[in-house]
Structures are given as structure tokens and as C-alpha cells.
Subunit: 155 residues, 4 copies
């Protein structure tokens, strides 16, 4: 039986996100960096490169989505309860040129035992909103790091 | 002034998609292939590779989205009127393992002068639905290939 | 302990929807009728009346949504497993004038033990698509009519 | 030709919303009240009554949506440029019992010449979030009150 270690919610988020990032080939390969993590929140960024450009010579919407989706995943797993995306919606607000550093900030809107709702804003390096993303998560069985939990008062 | 050449809607879709694909570095880089194109429809596929895997060792949702978004873009531009994605929504239905060939089929649900609605289903090579995507498009100024139009009876 | 009675999936859908409708004051009050029901499907209709008109003198989007949402609820509960809406999305395609009979057809896109995805099209009496709705459902505990189940081969 | 009168953005929002409400039979009939209005924002509320209850004896999702959709409409028209809903998405977070006063607050996330994005939160009278709504708007021709505009510095 796994012994339980209690951490602050912030420490837990840091441990979990570190372990997640180490396993996440997709994020590493895209050069996505984890800039900030907290209980239910994550800030991640990515540089738009040549191979991300569509026929309009701006960033393919799929890569904007991918960055937001990654921040969503880190935010909704930060409590160490395994959680997966069920659905997501994106609104594209501004074309993103090559060379832009995009920053995705995820915040938790709601969380129940089984489901969660997160908002992710994607801005460029000058703070202009380029996309707005909303994600629905489902809690599944298991913990990212077995045996780690947040102290009661911190949950 | 541009002289207008009239093609069948099918021929027009083929010409436009060929030109789009040639310019679309992102799709080429991901190994996305254009398998079928028609007026308001597109079928595109992509092989899931190592660099697309998330921490669960299944395809990162961002890549499933990107394939669907690409089929959406090709379908909504097939009439040669420049069209961009305004919003999109995805429901993830099944985890996608490494090595899967994902197939996205886009169909037009509605199209007006200014907006369009498209449904894109993503299946694996065995026909299992792995994600369902819905995209909203906006018509903008200009044509992909200036001077090409569909014959009236074909619009 | 409840004794289990087995019905065909169609008979089960009919029993469940009859019981649901009898309890559903909102649908009755709006004059929504249940026109067809089946396993995972429902067709319901509603007449647009004066009190449903917005400032443009067309049907308030909320009533179009409500009709679609109702068909969604009947379709996703037809298997007698208690199911609730988790999220829904609507695209408005055409303004709906006073006096229109709107018809909502719900079909099941996907269903797992815990979640479901349904598409609902709303047309006018002439078959024109006026709105397209997509709903996500969550299965909860309990049955609408305790003890009724579909025969295995019909599930 | 219409003579142009310039108001502050706040005064304009008040004039427009007053005119909208006077014409909006649906909102009046449902007992929806306009509690606050501003440039791109609106707060509206509604009491859940018997006829709004579904078979679970909680508020039919359609009525929660309708309240949110109404606040969305008032917020996106507050600038006196005719604007209609193109799409909307709702996440249901909490069942709403009979007798609840629901409060919808709409805020503008983004607005361009042709499109807008709004977030609407719906809470109960105790401030608990019961639903989260996101709406996409399209600007159309015409003004709600011809000849009224916001002063430049207020836009």
C-alpha cells in the first residue's frame, strides 16, 4: 500500500508538472516551456517557427490550440488526480505571425469530483489576446505521482 | 482586371486545394495527406508518431485537433473564396495510440455569404470515431487563385 | 431488490420518454411535443408564439436552444440510465419568424459508460436548417424507471 | 439623412438597452430584469418558477441558457451597432432549484468590426456559479437607435 506524503498544494503542483513535462514528448518537441504552475493554474509558452505556418504564412490554428491544450492539461492535473480533456473550444481572435512567442495562461473556473472547466487565454509577447480557449476535463482513476496529496487546508 | 475562368465546382476544389497544400508548410511538415477533396468537403490523414505523444503515451489532443482543423480549412476554402476559421470545438472520444493513421473527414453543414459551419469526424484506420470536431468559418476578401470561379449550375 | 424487466430498446425508449414527458412541466408549458423516440434518438417540435419573440421580432435564441436541449435530454435518457447535460453548443443559422413550427431531431454520435455526445438539428416546417446544436451528457446514478432494461441484443 | 448625436458610452448603453428591453417580449414575459448595463457589459436576473422545471424538478437548462443569452444580447448591442448571436456554448455546473434568483453577468472578451466574443457567468443569489456561457456575435447593418453614437474618447 502506498504511503501518503502531504505537500502544500503549490509544492504538489510543482512536483506533478515536473513529472508530466519529463514524460511529454509532444510538448518538449514543440519547444513549449512551463513558465508558471500552481493549483489549477499553468502558464506555458511557445515560439512560432517556420514549420508551424499555414498557407496564409501565419501560425496554423492547430499549433495555437496545441499550446492552449497543453496549459489546460498541466493546470487540470496539478492536483495529482489523473485528469483528461473531454472537450475543448477555441476562438481565434488575431492571426499570429512567424517568430511570435505565444503565452497560454490556464485558470480553473470550476472543479467537481468528476469534471472541471478551465479557461485558457493565449496572448502574444506584447499581451495582445490572440485566442481564447475553454476546456472540459474528466477525472479518471489514479494519481500522476502515487502517494502525493495536498494538505487538507490547501485543497 | 482579372479575367474569369469557369470550372466545375469539383475541378475548382481540386485546383484550390493543390495550391493551398503547396503553400502549407505546417501540413507538409506533419505528414498530413490530402486524400479527397470536393466542394465543401475534404478528407485528410496523418500518422501518429513519437513526437506527437503526450505523457499518457497517446496522441496529444493538439495533434488530433490540428488534423481536423486542416481538413476544415481545406473544405471551407474549396470554393476559392478566402475563408478563415473563427472558432472550433472538439470532443475527444477515444485515446489514440502511437502508429495510428488518423483520418479526418470534413463536411459542410451550412454556408452563407459570410459564415460557414463544418463538421469533421476523426477516425482511426479501423473506422473507430476518435474525435468529433465542429468549425465556424468566416469569409474574408480575396480568392485563393484569382480569377477562378465555379460555373453557376455547380455552385 | 428491484426485479428486472427486459424490453426491446425501442419499447424501453418509449416507456422512459412517456414517464419523462409526464414529469416535465417546462416542456409541457412550452407546448413542446414528442413526435418520435428511439434508442438514442428523439424528435420534438414547438410552435413559435408571441411571447417567444425578441426585439428583432424573431424567435429568441433561448427558445430555439430550449427545444434542442429538450430533444437532447429525451435522446440521452432513452436507455433508462439517468443522464444529465454537462455542456451544449448552438450555432444559429437562420432567424425564425413568429408562427414557425420548429422541429428538433437528436441523434447519438457517441456513448460510453460515463459520457455521451449528441447532435441536434433544428429545422423549420419546410425543412430549412435554422440551428445546429451539440450536447455533451454525463451518466449519473439511477434509472428513470427502476428495474427496466433493454434486452442484451438490443443494447 | 440622420443627424448624429454623441453620448458617452455609458449613456449610449443605457439608451440602447432601454429601447431593446421595451421591444423584447420574450425577456419581459420571463420576468427577466435588466439590473446593470455598460459598454459591452450587462447584468440581468430571473426567478426560477414552476413552469421552468424539468423532470428532475430543477430548472430546465434551456431557461438558464435563455437568461445568459439575453445578457449576452444586451451586452453586445450596447454600442448601438446592431449585433446578433452567431453561436453560443454553455457549461452546466450546478442544478438550480425552484425559487432561485439567477443572475447573469456578461462581459466583452473581444470585439472587432465584424465579430465579438462575450463571457457570461450565471450565479444563484448566494453567488454560486451555476453555469458558464460563452457567446460569439456578428455585427450586422444598422443601429438600434439611428443617429446615436459614442463620443470618440469613449469608444
Amino acid at each position: 500500500m502506498t504511503e501518503i506524503t502531504y505537500l502544500s498544494a503549490q509544492e504538489l503542483a510543482e512536483k506533478v508538472s515536473e513529472a508530466m513535462y519529463a514524460d511529454d514528448l509532444a510538448s518538449q518537441h514543440l519547444g513549449i516551456t512551463l513558465d508558471e504552475i500552481g493549483p489549477g493554474t499553468a502558464t506555458m509558452s511557445m515560439l512560432v517557427t517556420d514549420v508551424m505556418l499555414n498557407g496564409h504564412k501565419t501560425c496554423h490554428g492547430g499549433y495555437i490550440f496545441t499550446l492552449a491544450d497543453t496549459a489546460f492539461a498541466f493546470a487540470c492535473n496539478a492536483c495529482n488526480q489523473n485528469t483528461v480533456a473531454g472537450a475543448a473550444q477555441i476562438n481565434y481572435l488575431k492571426a499570429v505571425p512567424n517568430g511570435t512567442r505565444m503565452i497560454a495562461k490556464a485558470v480553473e473556473i470550476n472543479r467537481t469530483k468528476r469534471t472541471g472547466l478551465y479557461d485558457i487565454s493565449v496572448t502574444d509577447q506584447d499581451g495582445n489576446l490572440v485566442a481564447s480557449f475553454r476546456g472540459n476535463s474528466h477525472t479518471i482513476k489514479g494519481q500522476r505521482i502515487p502517494g502525493l496529496e495536498a494538505k487538507e487546508e490547501e485543497k
